[in-house]
């Protein structure tokens, strides 16, 4: 394959992956907060440890701010042992409903896509 074409395909692949991660991030954050209250860095660590979803730190905080503005999250400042306060987030009732809806959609969507991708998996082997 021509090097320029190969690079273009790689770049296109990178962009696609960024878009997929971007699309999943909202659901991932809601899911991370499903069972516990977390502060920003705690959410980032949870995403990295549980789903290998490593996102730039600068994108999570504005998203948390937007989810809160939309009424899906609530937050409060809590004094921590670290010596400085931390802003903890948790899901509101509306956030829990939204998380369930998104999870249902994601399950259906990925199951349907898996059928389509089955022949490609054989090719990978």
């Amino acid at each position: 394959m021509e090097p320029v074409l190969a690079k273009a395909l790689l770049d296109a692949g990178d962009k696609w992956e960024v878009q997929v991660r971007k699309g999943c991030l909202e659901l991932a954050i809601l899911a991370a907060l499903w069972s516990e209250r977390l502060y920003g860095l705690g959410i980032l660590r949870r995403l990295a440890e549980d789903s290998a979803l490593i996102v730039p730190e600068g994108t999570v905080y504005p998203l948390l701010s937007r989810l809160k503005a939309e009424g899906l999250l609530a937050s409060e400042w809590v004094e921590a042992d670290a010596g400085h306060p931390r802003k903890y987030y948790w899901l509101t009732a509306s956030g829990r409903r939204r998380a369930v809806q998104m999870a249902q959609f994601w399950s259906t969507f990925s199951a349907n896509l898996a059928v389509l991708l089955a022949p490609l998996r054989k090719e990978e082997r």
């Binding site: 960024v18 991660r21 971007k22 991030l25 909202e26 502060y39 920003g40 860095l41 996102v55 730039p56 730190e57 600068g58 994108t59 905080y61 504005p62 998203l63 701010s65 937007r66 503005a69 400042w77 670290a82 010596g83 400085h84 306060p85 931390r86 802003k87």
Partner: protein
């Protein structure tokens, strides 16, 4: 200055730059953002408050201006959608125009709509002050027999011109001017909704 002092100074400067870039947000919201990021940086740095440790923490967040622009890109549509303020919608359009060609087209459309609306309303309001010169005039022109000019009444009208609408320019100018103004704002609102749905995080996330 020792290494620890340098690290603290870098954090202060980063947060000062961030606060300056967020100055258009309401004060409490901007302060909350800055405090949250201060907390994040201190958590990341932990005990390594050296210049290198702070550099790594700040680099992971990205430039203060870029970070602020994601907040602003997110906050402005939200404020505009909530308040439905035509001014906020137009401010958001200006920001959008700097980010994409579609945004630029939307801004040009918005400016044209606002210009026509302002001209109609201005003409209607100035008609009582300049009854003989303000209004929609048909100008005699050999090349184009249907040459019209919307005039605010400053200066004279070319000889042979006729006032097409007369005093009707007042109700019709106000009606159409305000109509176009709010129609443009409404179109802006729906395009902002679409933009927000299509690009919930703004330009970052690479």
């Amino acid at each position: 200055m020792d290494d620890l002092g340098m690290g603290q100074r870098k954090i202060k400067k980063y947060l000062r730059d961030l606060a300056a870039a967020l100055r258009t947000l309401p004060g409490t919201q901007a302060r909350d953002i800055v405090e949250e990021l201060r907390s994040h940086i201190l958590d990341k740095v932990g005990r390594d408050m050296t210049s290198a440790g702070v550099d790594a923490a700040l680099a992971a967040l990205g430039r203060a201006d870029d970070l602020a622009s994601v907040y602003l890109g997110d906050a402005l549509p939200a404020q505009a959608l909530v308040s439905r303020s035509p001014l906020l919608i137009r401010r958001r359009w200006c920001r959008w125009a700097g980010q994409s060609f579609t945004g630029l087209l939307a801004l040009i459309g918005s400016l044209c709509g606002s210009f026509v609306a302002a001209a109609l309303v201005g003409c209607a309001l100035l008609k009582p002050i300049h009854p003989l010169t303000a209004g929609l005039w048909r100008i005699p022109d050999a090349a184009d027999p249907y040459s019209f000019s919307l005039r605010l009444g400053f200066g004279s009208v070319p000889l042979g011109s006729s006032d097409v609408m007369g005093w009707w320019i007042i109700p019709l100018g106000l009606l159409f001017g305000l109509g176009i103004f709010f129609l443009t704002a409404r179109l802006g609102l729906s395009s902002l909704r679409r933009l927000r749905q299509a690009n919930p995080l703004g330009p970052q996330l690479n």
